[in-house]
């Protein structure tokens, strides 16, 4: 288990006073200090970690957020922003001595601007609610995490969330064009807007994926897109994982970027089939779902092309959806893969590494070998189109030692991802979960540079500390300048 920063006893000693001060800012039930109610906030989607916050605050206006931040900043109190709490990396894990800032009451769609193809929403609006708000005019918001019914756009910004459609339409970061945010010292900043870019550094780009560590997002402007006129899905079974992996590479090499391209291995397919009865081929070692969207002529053309490619790679079965209901059915199992796996195992631990597509087969077979080593099984569902793996490690938290083994197994999988040229996390974020693995990808200099960005936003380190960085440096220490001018490696270079 990971260690969180030691709680500040001086802050904890003032709890009553802090609660009182916060109640002056957010009246009524917006400040929660009752232990039983605080339990609701003690963890996010990474449920192995639980800490009730010192106090939870649920503001309703930007002005209240400003006041809360000013107060916490001046009193040196830590703040952890939270959306729906579905983060799988512990990004919204509370701190014992911190204020949990729940943004769930920011629920309004403020403006839908079809002329400029964007929507302005509050951060507590769920991902799916944005698409619902614009569907009457045939529009949608493209990034579609599987958690989209529950997760908020503020959380999506925090994690730079992705989804099945991100291969073709981009991640959160490519679909957010403006933000309003409140800094730790209570300053309201606007980044971007309805127009492209902004003057100055791309701070909007940095805010997306910053895991609640740089500021509190209070408003989001997203791009909305006209819905493609049609979409069909092809379900392809393969007798080998390698065949499926090669098929994925070949589809892309041919110049096709499908709307979505997802893979499930045999255990995941079995679990999903038992859950939704979509008619998945249970004898296949790997199942690929490829969705082609666009006008009818394009979809028909690409379906044929994909079927041909699948044939070349030894597909054992192919099924093309004949109606939208059938298309949704083919997706249903993939979309419900997590809960489906939840039914075959008391607990599961979801990993999120990305690897170069060409290494898929190799990484999956290495994972199978590791299963024996750890005595735990793995089911794999993943965004094959972009090489983003979601190995689900099955374990039982009630068996002593299994959680620790699952965590060690997960860490090994992520190290393997980095080893083959990939990264620790494709869309779930570092949070507390992968914090201590950052060193496998980055040097100390890389990580110090990351932290210096953090220092520009939050010099006292009050916003969501204990996440992302394995070692926390004080900003003053990072600001010190050591220049190694004495070490001359290239004596022939001209000197100033």
């Amino acid at each position: 288990m990971l260690k969180m920063p030691l709680p500040d006893t001086a802050v904890l000693a003032c709890r009553a006073e802090i609660v009182h001060a916060l109640r002056q800012i957010v009246p009524g039930e917006g400040v929660i200090d009752d232990a039983s109610e605080l339990c609701a906030y003690e963890s996010d989607g990474l449920t192995a970690y639980r800490t009730p916050p010192m106090v939870a605050v649920l503001p309703e206006t930007t002005e209240q957020v400003v006041q809360v931040m000013r107060y916490c900043h001046s009193a040196g109190i830590k703040v952890v922003p939270r959306g729906a709490g579905t983060s799988l990396s512990g990004g919204a894990l509370p701190l014992e001595d911190g204020v949990l800032l729940g943004m769930g009451k920011f629920k309004q769609v403020l403006e839908i601007d079809y002329v400029n193809r964007c929507a302005v929403v509050q951060p507590g609006v769920t991902n799916l609610a944005i698409s619902h708000a614009v569907q009457e005019r045939g529009f949608y918001y493209a990034p579609d995490p599987s958690s989209q019914i529950a997760c908020t756009i503020g959380g999506n910004v925090g994690e730079n969330s992705g989804g099945v459609h991100c291969l073709k339409y981009g991640l959160t970061t490519n679909n957010v064009i403006g933000l309003e945010m409140v800094t730790i010292d209570g300053e309201v900043l606007r980044l971007g807007g309805k127009h492209f870019d902004a003057s100055g550094y791309d701070l909007l780009g940095v805010m997306v994926g910053s895991e609640g560590m740089l500021g509190v997002v209070t408003e989001v402007t997203v791009r909305i897109l006209p819905k493609p006129p049609g979409a069909r899905a092809v379900l392809i079974g393969f007798s080998t994982i390698e065949g499926a992996g090669d098929c994925v590479a070949d589809i892309i090499a041919t110049g096709i970027i499908p709307g979505g391209m997802e893979m499930m291995d045999k255990p995941a397919t079995a679990a999903a089939e038992a859950f939704v009865h979509a008619g998945y081929p249970l004898d296949a070692e790997a199942v690929l779902i490829v969705e082609l969207d666009g006008c009818e002529a394009e979809v028909d053309h690409l379906i044929l092309a994909v079927e041909k490619i699948a044939g070349r790679h030894g597909a054992s079965s192919t099924r093309v959806s004949q109606s939208d209901d059938e298309r949704l059915l083919l997706w249903a199992g993939r979309k419900a893969a997590f809960p489906a796996v939840g039914r075959i195992s008391p607990d599961y631990y979801c990993m999120d590494g990305t690897i170069p597509r060409k290494r898929i087969g190799e990484v999956l077979s290495r994972m199978r070998q590791m299963q024996d080593q750890y005595g735990l099984r793995v089911a794999n569902v993943f965004h094959a189109g972009d090489g983003n793996l979601h190995p689900l490690i099955l374990y039982d938290a009630n068996q002593p030692g299994e959680l620790d083994r699952a965590e060690a197994f997960g860490a090994d999988i992520l190290r393997l991802c980095v080893q083959v040229g990939g990264v620790l996390t494709g869309e779930h974020g570092v949070g507390v979960e992968k914090r201590d693995l950052m060193g496998t990808m980055f040097t100390e200099i890389d990580l110090n540079q990351q932290q210096r960005l953090k220092c520009a936003f939050d010099p006292q380190g009050l916003l969501n500390p204990g996440k992302m960085f394995p070692t926390l440096h004080r900003c003053a220490e990072l600001g010190r300048v050591h220049v190694h001018a004495g070490q001359v490696r290239f004596p022939d270079l001209p000197r100033f």
Binding site: A297, R357, G421, F442, Q450
Partner: protein, 406 residues
């Protein structure tokens, strides 16, 4: 004035570390084609990264390419074309625009966050950088991001380098996302529309599900300068939309778009390519002799009003809308624009529309006197300044390029 030409990233780091130790500001450049972009700098030394050149890793099905930062764009583009791929953000060639001759390089395109008319669908350079190696203003070699398309490990410091004009780090190696090249392209052209009508039609076109991948409106003066006969021949305004993709799809969508917009003349593939290159390159379509040139990013629908307001105060102004790029380009006679290059008029006109304006072309004196990039509200400016400090505490990397203090 010394020009340092490091042979590799390690040498570059040593040059920068030495410069940091002696507090010697450095101009960073490679091909030098966009040297005139931004505020003029007064540095006595420069670091020419041109030797950091060459493609390191390119595997088409992985949709990524890694190259040393000063690899010529021409080399990258021809390699991609050979594999029927492309940089989807269509980095425009601005040599004509900047009046420069060298070789444009990948690092320059990234540092200036360029984008072409496909922006509305594909984004800008910022949306295509996956990771990089660089050297910060302390002379430390560091990296961020990775080589895979999906990655949220750590802050997205790759995007931060895009549009930082080399003020945060010297980029030494860059990985970008690449995409398949569309099988075919064609455009649909309308004539004689007023600015307002053209913008309304553009909005309508982009709001159809026909995946319009670029939209532009050329007032008559701009249209006349095009090399594409069908665009130039009638002395009339031209509004144009682009469709790309597999051939059967483009044929079908063209028919649908014509039905939805009530007509339009198709423009065939070669003409279409030439026209969109001209739009990206800007220079072919606008008077440039003795002019100040502005690049405006307004809230889209407000652009015609902005253009009218500038025109009312500065009648010599002419321009065109790269609508897919979200841009209004304005060229103003330098004498009429005066000592501030028209900054006050342009930025006042932009005020209600929100957005920002960049002074792309003007004399060194004008670009020294007025903010080339839009001034930021004080708290945001202070934050930008702290960000800069975090990368370059002594202010030795391209100092003053973006703002007096940056």
């Amino acid at each position: 004035m010394t020009v340092y030409r490091p042979a590799d990233a390690a040498e570059a780091a040593e040059v920068i570390a030495a410069a940091a130790a002696e507090r010697q500001p450095l101009e960073l450049l490679a091909g030098g084609t966009k040297r005139g972009l931004g505020r003029p700098m007064r540095t006595s030394h420069s670091l020419d990264a041109s030797r950091l050149s060459g493609v390191i890793d390119y595997d088409p099905p992985e949709l990524q390419l890694t190259a040393h930062a000063a690899t010529p764009m021409a080399q990258i583009e021809s390699l991609l074309a050979d594999n029927r791929q492309m940089l989807a953000f269509e980095p425009p060639d601005w040599r004509g625009l900047m009046g420069s001759h060298g070789t444009s390089t990948l690092g320059g395109v990234i540092a200036c966050n360029l984008a072409g008319p496909r922006r509305v669908r594909a984004g800008a350079a910022r949306d295509h950088i996956l990771g990089f190696f660089g050297v910060n203003g302390r002379g430390e070699s560091w990296k961020a991001g990775g080589k895979v398309v999906k990655n949220v490990t750590g802050y997205d410091l790759s995007k931060l380098q895009c549009g930082a004009y080399g003020t945060l780090s010297l980029l030494t190696q860059i990985t970008v996302k690449v995409m398949p090249r569309p099988e075919t392209v064609c455009s649909l052209l309308f004539r004689g529309l007023s600015d307002e009508a053209a913008i309304a039609l553009s909005s309508q076109a982009l709001n159809t599900p026909q995946e319009v991948s670029a939209a532009a409106h050329l007032p008559a003066a701009a249209a006349r300068r095009s090399q594409v006969t069908a665009v130039a021949d009638r002395s009339d305004t031209v509004t144009v939309f682009r469709l790309e993709g597999p051939t059967p799809s483009v044929i079908s969508r063209l028919a649908s778009l014509r039905a939805q917009l009530g007509g339009g003349e198709p423009l065939q593939a070669d003409d279409s390519r030439l026209l969109w290159d001209e739009i990206g390159a800007v220079r072919p379509l606008l008077a440039a002799h003795n002019r100040c040139l502005w690049r405006l990013c307004p809230t889209p629908a407000a652009a015609p009003l902005v253009q009218q307001q500038v025109r009312a105060k500065l009648p010599s102004s002419e321009g065109f809308y790269d609508w897919g790029g979200g841009l209004l380009w304005l060229s103003i006679d330098a004498r009429e624009a005066g000592a501030d290059g028209g900054a006050q008029v342009v930025r006042n006109a932009l005020r209600q529309a929100a957005g920002h304006a960049t002074l792309i072309l003007a004399s060194d004196a004008v670009r020294t006197n007025v903010p080339v990039f839009q001034t930021l509200p004080a708290p945001l400016a202070a934050l930008n300044q702290r960000v800069k400090y975090g990368f370059d505490p002594h202010g030795i990397l391209n100092p003053g390029r973006m703002r007096e203090d940056q």
